[in-house]
Subunit: 172 residues, 2 copies
């Protein structure tokens, strides 16, 4: 990309440099949900319609917000951890903003916390830690379902996922 | 493989041919669950311990039995459809053994049917058809959970799976 810009599009390269430098200095974190935004409060948190159902979806990164938004299934607000608990790397509760989350839970306008951290060991541990926090504040906490991905073949699914899928079976 | 056997291991090739021809003539279907077996009744169906919990897991192919067995989470019996409903290809209920299943449900020793057909459109349609059959016989039917596979990253999961995962969230 650098060679292309140097050979063919020096003006475009300067624009790109400008945009990048602007982004680096202007983009901060939303004060409510910690996602990236140029405003004080991001456009999801400041939308009054997203407050109505009282759901708060906890994700690990701003990219996860995009993934959940793409499903069109969720109309509440988000909270971005910007990582996950990892005591060995020295990442504790306050590093992933759980003090901010604690403050938000205390305000009483959140009815359900949906824990959508990654389905990895660290993600599960973080989800359980936050679930404890929710129970302290008498807020209901739920975890997204583990199971077989839609469109796949049963025999190609790994054993752990299949066993979660069997345990989480639902009546029809 | 054929070149290797011709060049290096003609005796092994003959043994392989024998084994294959034996398998083709000797292996039939279990009379109870329709999986491949050399006996009249396969070793899972003839094991009295597997009858105790009254669970019957419906899968599309014998390979799926191996996948579910590998999880170690299931101790009931199986029923193998050997395919799925596909009206356009002329595959109806009796082609996937639903008359045999109907007979088994009528015997009253099955308490729950776990529908573990593939998470594809045809698999879902087949699962719903069998669930109707179970309701006629007052047998409880459940579907394995759809959701994010364990160990993955949320942002790499497809939208349909993620939306199933959100809908199927469970309290913790």
């Amino acid at each position: 990309m650098a060679f292309h810009l140097l050979q063919r599009d020096r003006k475009g390269g300067l624009q790109l440099a400008d945009a990048l430098s602007n982004a680096m200095t202007e983009i901060g974190h939303c004060q409510q949900c910690r996602t990236f935004t140029e405003e004080e409060i991001c456009h999801i948190c400041s939308n009054p319609k997203r407050k109505e159902n009282g759901q708060l979806c906890v994700v690990e990164s701003p990219a996860d917000i995009a993934a959940v938004e793409a499903t069109g299934q969720f109309s509440g607000r988000y909270f971005v951890l910007m990582g996950h608990l990892s005591p060995l790397d020295g990442i504790g509760p306050s590093d992933i903003g759980l003090d901010v989350l604690d403050y938000r839970l205390r305000q009483g306008d959140i009815g359900e916390v949906i824990l959508a951290t990654n389905p990895t060991v660290e993600g599960e541990a973080t989800a359980h830690y936050i679930a404890e926090l929710c129970h302290e504040h008498q807020v209901s906490a739920s975890r997204i379902a583990h199971g077989v991905p839609v469109g796949g073949e049963l025999e190609l699914v790994d054993g752990t996922t299949l066993s979660h899928s069997l345990m989480g079976r639902q009546k029809i």
